[in-house]
Symmetry: C2
Subunit: 235 residues, 2 copies
């Protein structure tokens, strides 16, 4: 897969950011320096930087330079701010089920393809807490050849999406979601410590990724009484 020059520069910079060689707040080399370093013209450099801006990796300041930005997987709902920022406080995660290989046996809001159904699945379930308050129960599934690599593995910074991005170079490219207010069932209410039958926010997500046939399915059950789900978006 031959990359164009701007794509080469783009992925080179992206890697440096993801591997921590360029940290949040650091300034990139100036556009003219990049021209010289990579022997390309400014138009090409700017095309690469424009893409990084659109993907939320850097921000530009006229007259100053381009700086690495706090990066969000800025798609979908919860992940817009990430769970921790969405609730804005100290967050703990408890694995109810560490990543395991499994068969498909679930009823989800979104339906996997035939190809996915016949494949092996990876599954894990987490309870997300603010301090000691459990606020979200989260189940995740995906079907892939490479699931073995995930079984029993830890996540980079405790983040599944960071792991995908850094270890497997898979980026989230889109999502479909469905939102429902429901009565909490017994199992859910016991985990997130509300009364059975209390209103609960149920979010079903199908994430699309840069790997064409890889989708990630999540079912979230949120106690929004104390901590509403926050979300922001800008063009």
């Amino acid at each position: 897969m031959k990359q164009t020059r701007y794509q080469e520069l783009e992925s080179m910079l992206k890697e440096k950011i993801q591997h921590g060689l360029l940290k949040v707040g650091d300034y990139l080399p100036s556009e003219n320096e990049l021209c010289i370093q990579y022997s390309i013209t400014r138009t090409t450099v700017r095309k690469a930087l424009d893409n990084l801006v659109n993907e939320g990796y850097i921000e530009k300041q006229h007259g100053k330079g381009s700086r690495v930005k706090e990066h969000r997987n800025s798609l979908g709902l919860l992940n817009v701010k990430g769970f921790s920022e969405a609730v804005g406080m100290n967050v703990n995660t408890i694995f109810l089920q560490k990543p395991i290989k499994t068969k498909w046996n679930q009823q989800l809001a979104f339906h996997p393809s035939e190809m996915e159904l016949q494949s092996n699945w990876l599954y894990f379930e987490r309870l997300r807490c603010v301090g000691d308050d459990p606020v979200m129960l989260e189940s995740n599934w995906f079907a892939d050849q490479e699931i073995k690599k995930f079984v029993g593995q830890e996540f980079v910074d405790g983040s599944f999406f960071k792991t995908l991005s850094q270890k497997y170079l898979v980026e989230i490219t889109g999502s479909e979601q469905e939102l429902r207010a429901e009565y909490a069932d017994e199992r859910t209410s016991s985990y997130i410590k509300i009364e059975t039958g209390a209103p609960i926010l149920h979010i079903s997500i199908k994430f699309h990724t840069s790997k064409p046939d890889l989708f990630i399915y999540s079912e979230l059950y949120c106690n929004t009484m104390k901590y509403p789900i926050g979300n922001s978006y800008h063009l």
Copy 2:
């Protein structure tokens, strides 16, 4: 406010699309034609078209041309698909309160600025139905000098955002949202015809617009039992 050349071309094309001179599916003049028509180089034309692609107005096809796309105000939550597409069926809207001038007297999830608080507000409230089923109660506020123009007016195609875009050239540029699953109160439940105390999805939104000091505040109460709120996003 002086526009750059690519901004001129961009807004010229955007207007043609919004005013129906260029319809969905129509091909734009080729990049080379645009170069000649507006006496600019291809780099500049492409910058304008790139922006239109990013804003979702057009899509490009290598070897064929650039075509006007089905446009969504692709921000926020409900408006991602628009109410009608989000539920995917025949939709009716009942005005419980037509647009009127009012004073600020509400408790919202997001707090207006001092400037907004001292200004006059426009308010309207709608009940959104799928067929005869009421599924969403929607209240909207905003503070602006030009609210008089809205008082008692009809909306373009029944859409407030289309009206903003076509009549006032104001685009939605971002949003902040909060989601809560709540017990339905008496007034809400009577309108959307569910039992008082049933779970209901409460969405609070603060829309940001291309007019720097103009924000639009919405409070939505959704019956998600029969029709979950749908949402999709792609990069």
